[in-house]
Symmetry: C2
Subunit: 346 residues, 2 copies
């Protein structure tokens, strides 16, 4: 587990369900450590009233006000399209650095190399910056002690990080310790562990993932890896397959949104059984990897529509399926726990 | 077609079948433009006696001697493991730049950013350097006018570039004009066109390939794209799938070496029918892409062994198969030409 932090989350003018993804991830998965969110346009409200979760976490007007709460990390919680840095944020970042805070940023623009911030570079963690010394994959999966579960999706941006983190909690409740490896900026911020695979030079994607797994292999029975993109996504499929073969997973859990019918290019999404079979096939030359369950993302559905949709998925795929966020049942975690216990006994 | 060049190829101490891959590619595919190879350890010999092809191209002791032939480009023809620059080559590169030559390099180390060479950066082409302004794939394949053929392999380093270039010649002999797009340093040097996909940040691989195709779409009925890696190669699969979906090919031609039984990790290679089916499946959510034939790389076989091995491939896959280098028959080009004519008539 990462050490306990005292976070303030910088989301100026952008705190919202879609516009402050990294802030929202920390609010959901490390709520006790979030002291406040900075967004002057919503100052005085609570996070709960803006996001629907996050309860009484206050929204403050400035970094200066936030400093009174004695934070130790300020996280840039917003990710504008293109991942650039807004000059309007410069005074806030400077104030946090001067006050001795660590600053974490998931932007594509690396704050640690900004001329004005670089004298504080030891306080800055650019979450997306690839580690140095990356290598091509070495084939270490054949010697692995832990089992590996990778979350995958029928499309990008469909809940693969959420699936892995919810599974982690559910498995912990069943006495199964896991380590979560982040592969995007939000997952990395939450776990303080991982590698931003989409920013890695393509030759080294498989190897970068393998190296992250190698660091913790054997420490727990099961390592959970956050998926990225989709192997059937025409824009990001390369990242996704590099991640799959870098992991060489034993298990997949599949995130799927029944109400999403087309991809980012307005092309119909493939059938879910095709997606499941393709993932198992891609790993089959090396080992057996099975999809163990489905986490349904019920965006656009009423509560009444969830149960019939899940029944349809179960019938279609012959797999446990649940909505881990709105109606968690633990069915997928049960399947994972059962399979893990059986496989580790062999 | 690229303009006519007067090349000298720098391969100091390294001219050989395996150690001077980029030089060898130019010797094979642009032989009339290669004035000389520089390798002081073999000076006085001809390229033909060292490589088995390249005929009377002389091997010279120094760049100085080569300059007398009035070259206009010096190509760094060697690629040491890791792609680094050897300080021993510095005087040669300096001499070529001072003499006004262009210098092309496929090293991972970019000569154009070397402090000593950067004042000549306009003369330098770092073949592997990703173009600026890369984007994620835009989905432009749905509007393409040309058909796309991508060469693929049952493993990496198995003749995918050779397959595409031999096909180009054979199709030209059948009256079919094509454009070849390189995706590695040697293919890019030969065609003076392409993008080194393994050096591109993973998020942009699909888009980088799409952008290269967009530049020439519609100029010829068929665009040939050099494959990289293998979709079943645990180290490079991400690069390969990015390339596949960046291309959205209509046709594949598969390079295969029957005597190669294991991959770089000593793991058994999958069956060739698995490899063929997997490629067709990966594109199937978007369009129909078919493997049209096999180019057999007969390394390790005697001439007598080629025909029975090809017969085995034909029986197994129900596809035309030939050895395009040692015993070209044109069977694969015939199949491509036939399919192309049928598809374009539709």
């Amino acid at each position: 587990m990462p050490e306990t932090r005292r976070f303030i989350l910088f989301a100026e003018d952008r705190l919202g369900p879609l516009s402050s993804k990294t802030a929202n991830g920390l609010i959901r998965y490390r709520p006790k450590e979030v002291l406040a969110v900075i967004d002057s346009t919503k100052a005085g409200k609570t996070v709960g009233t803006v996001l629907g979760y996050g309860g009484d976490i206050p929204i403050l007007a400035s970094v200066e006000t936030g400093l009174k709460l004695k934070p130790d990390v300020m996280v840039i919680g917003i990710a504008p399209i293109g991942g650039g840095f807004s000059e309007a944020w410069r005074p806030a970042v400077n104030r946090a650095l001067e006050a001795g805070l660590k600053v974490w940023s998931g932007l594509h623009y690396f704050l640690s190399t900004d001329p004005e911030f670089s004298s504080h570079s030891e306080q800055i963690w650019d979450l997306r910056k690839p580690p140095s010394g990356l290598k091509v994959a070495q084939g270490n999966w054949t010697r692995r002690k832990s089992k590996i579960l990778l979350t995958i999706g029928s499309d990008s941006n469909i809940g693969k990080m959420t699936t892995a983190l919810e599974l982690q909690t559910q498995l912990a409740a069943r006495g199964i310790e896991t380590i979560f490896i982040g592969t995007g900026q939000t997952g990395i911020a939450i776990a303080e562990r991982g590698v931003g695979v989409d920013a890695v030079v393509s030759d080294f994607v498989n190897g970068a993932v393998e190296a992250e797994i190698d660091k913790v292999d054997g420490q727990v029975p099961l390592i959970l890896v956050e998926g990225q993109g989709a192997v059937t996504h025409p824009g990001y499929s390369g990242v996704t397959l590099g991640l799959i073969h870098g992991c060489m997973p034993d298990y997949f859990v599949l995130a799927h949104q029944p109400t999403r019918l087309v991809d980012d290019y307005n092309h119909p999404l493939p059938s879910l059984s095709f997606v499941r079979d393709l993932h198992e096939t891609l790993v089959s030359p090396f080992k057996t990897a099975r999809v163990l369950g489905v986490n349904m993302y019920s965006k656009g559905m009423t509560l009444d529509e969830i149960a019939p949709a899940l029944a349809g998925l179960r019938r279609n795929l012959k797999l446990p399926a649940e909505d881990m966020v709105r109606q968690p049942t633990g069915a997928v975690a049960d399947a994972v726990a059962l399979t893990l216990k059986r496989d580790l006994r062999v």
